[in-house]
Symmetry: C2
Subunit: 411 residues, 2 copies
């Protein structure tokens, strides 16, 4: 029931309808990406508190600030899927959808009477994307899907550490829900691949497809040459702290004011420029540091020399010196640095959005960027059940019927 | 020119042709994903050494082991794009392609006479995906696109660290080319969104589209609520080491044999199980640790208690104890652990592939998984120019013409 106040969907996915049976991060992040490019995303939550992310992170006016971004462009409806009437409504929504995205524990939708056969009976050519910790089959499919566990099983946590013997501190978490987010992007890619195959003219076969995206595997897929190297040579990749095993110098160095400054000068010309900027041009001819191989072999001494120099300057001054010397460098941006960055601002990556509940908010922009057809942030994350009347009304339910369903706890 | 020895493409993207003008990680990773799902990827390299990744990482039989995976399923041709004859051949390849993926520095293809107008003249409905460090426009588009710099500008490097004041060690690199890889997945998603819009029946408009994916922005898009929280409240998210600011206990704890074991017991029931497994059930009733909020407030003491316990057991024994107690836990997998993992094996994520150059190799499986139509690893990364005769022959060039072009250094 669009009215004049509802922004019209734009972007390449306008006209696509996606049903989200998601919570936490992975599935909702996937549908956020689809919605940003124009898809009509209908998010189904249990009546009451809804998705736990509504309570996550710092609050603003009693609401999660994250929610403003996480659920933007979505229409939020409530259904208690344990109730038969709710399942019936859900299947009517399925019938009008192109894709469904869910991240329940494997098997849970089946137990709710929403197995794939039921979904396909409602919509034979539906694309069904399932996201889970470990996948929909196999001996460990039922393990609890905590992100930090999945990231460790995918092989990432071992690598986000200082070299063995450097410190007693634990390997760090990447600091964000990296496994969930990457699984979400992979699912968005897979959904569009499946929809292209379904819909694309002479290539299209009109068939729906299923996707089975695991958090562990999404991480594992990014490990570069680690697996073939292990298989062929038996080498086990080890963490390298702030640096890279095969390139030097490239690391984070501390400035006088405590700011960490990244410097990537791991070619001979760049290293020459860095040595000059340090006022020590002779380092470029030092046999310990001549050529990348020598620099890697002597990286501890090299990083120490660079660190002594960076400790004499504040971060901003260092950045200016390195920029003048044409050496790739930057401070490690905090979110305040990101928000102020002229390039991110120029590119529309830091946007002021009016959230109907929270007022003016900063939102990250839309990735991937399609300059001629970019999609839009049509609205910010809505309250629980905000679109019940609109969405259920479009199914033909009258106001009285919806009120009765609410009364019964169906929605 | 398929013959009996060439595996037929399968998967949802069979029939799609993608031209890669890529090098290093981001664009080639994007096309690897497309090729895994069945696309015919033609990778164009300069004659001679080709893509630098052919030399990266550990070598096996004189070749990069990573290359076996990075270029799998691709047809590799050489063209010296500085030569007019090579550009002419390239535009003929463009004419037969659905999408083009490139990660030159912004503007570089224009300077080579391959601006968007030239590409579109050859194929009006081409989808063009450009991947770069900072994007195709804006004040910093010409900055050198080093991954470590881009990840820092995207806000990630600041967060992969221990809390301020914990250590003098630098924030760690994630340990893999995370920014390039994520940009590559985003590009694959954007390409399929654009192709769906081009080709999809009643939704399709037959138009080509451009994509502009930046490494910095791909990272920045994953920062959860950091930007809206900063905008609304002024809070600057800080690193939290191995833990999570809002949940406890969840961290990596060291076992007696030095193995790091992740434990996620940040709910009251799970913490009760952990306390019992530790032989200290009273901890669950300790006022310092009753409820997640109290545990977060006293996380240093809590992590120390858990660490004292884990230090009494070897990693494997700890994992067994925690599994028996139904507490989510795992050691931080090395690549050797991944390769042996029964779940990853069951799911086809660790595959034995015969590389025509290198012999038997381990390859990671295909993500995203489409169980009914999964795509395939048809062949491993080929030598430089391996498909020149086949690809240029299909354009109608005879063997003599191709030999002459090779003689002239065109290919």
């Amino acid at each position: 029931m669009p009215d004049a106040a509802v922004p019209v969907a734009t972007g390449p996915l306008a006209g696509l309808r996606v049903l989200e049976l998601g919570h936490f991060v992975a599935a909702p992040f996937c549908t956020r990406l689809l919605g940003d490019l124009g898809a009509d995303v209908i998010k189904v939550e249990p009546p009451g508190a809804g998705d736990p992310v509504r309570q996550w992170g710092a609050r603003h006016k009693g609401q999660s600030a994250w929610w403003s971004v996480h659920a933007r462009n979505k229409r939020c409806v409530t259904l208690d899927l344990k109730k038969p009437k709710a399942r019936e409504i859900l299947l009517r929504l399925v019938a009008g959808s192109d894709a469904l995205v869910e991240n329940f524990r494997p098997g849970q939708l089946d137990r709710m009477g929403l197995a794939e056969a039921a979904l396909r009976a409602a919509k034979p050519d539906l694309v069904i994307a399932r996201i889970s910790g470990y996948g929909q089959d196999g001996p460990q499919r039922d393990r609890a899907a905590f992100g930090v566990i999945g990231e460790a099983v995918g092989g990432l946590r071992h690598l986000t550490n200082h070299p063995p013997g450097t410190t007693d501190l634990p390997p760090v978490r990447v600091g964000i829900s990296i496994g969930d987010s990457i699984a979400g992007i992979y699912a968005a890619f897979g959904i569009m691949a499946a929809l292209w195959k379904r819909d694309a003219g002479r290539h299209g076969d009109g068939r729906g497809r299923g996707l089975d995206v695991a958090l562990t595997e999404s991480i594992f897929s990014l490990l570069e040459g680690a697996l073939p190297e292990y298989g062929a040579l038996g080498t086990v990749r080890q963490p390298t702290g702030g640096g890279i095993a095969t390139a030097a110098p490239t690391n984070a160095y501390r400035a006088r004011d405590g700011v960490w400054v990244l410097i990537a000068a791991n070619s001979d010309p760049l290293f020459g420029k860095l040595a000059a900027a340090m006022g020590r041009p002779e380092l470029a001819d030092d046999p310990r540091f001549r050529g990348n191989q020598a620099r890697c072999a002597n990286v501890v001494a090299l990083d120490a020399d660079i660190g002594l120099w960076t400790a004499q300057h504040d971060g901003a001054a260092l950045e200016a010196l390195l920029e003048a010397a044409d050496v790739p460098a930057t401070r490690a941006y905090t979110i305040a640095d990101c928000a102020a960055d002229p390039q991110l601002r120029h590119r529309g990556m830091v946007r002021e959005v009016v959230d109907a509940q929270l007022g003016p908010m900063l939102h990250p922009g839309i990735v991937p960027m399609l300059p001629g057809d970019p999609g839009a942030i049509r609205w910010a994350g809505p309250p629980v059940g905000a679109h019940n009347d609109e969405v259920f009304g479009a199914l033909g339910l009258g106001a009285g019927e919806i009120a009765a369903l609410r009364e019964e706890g169906v929605c």
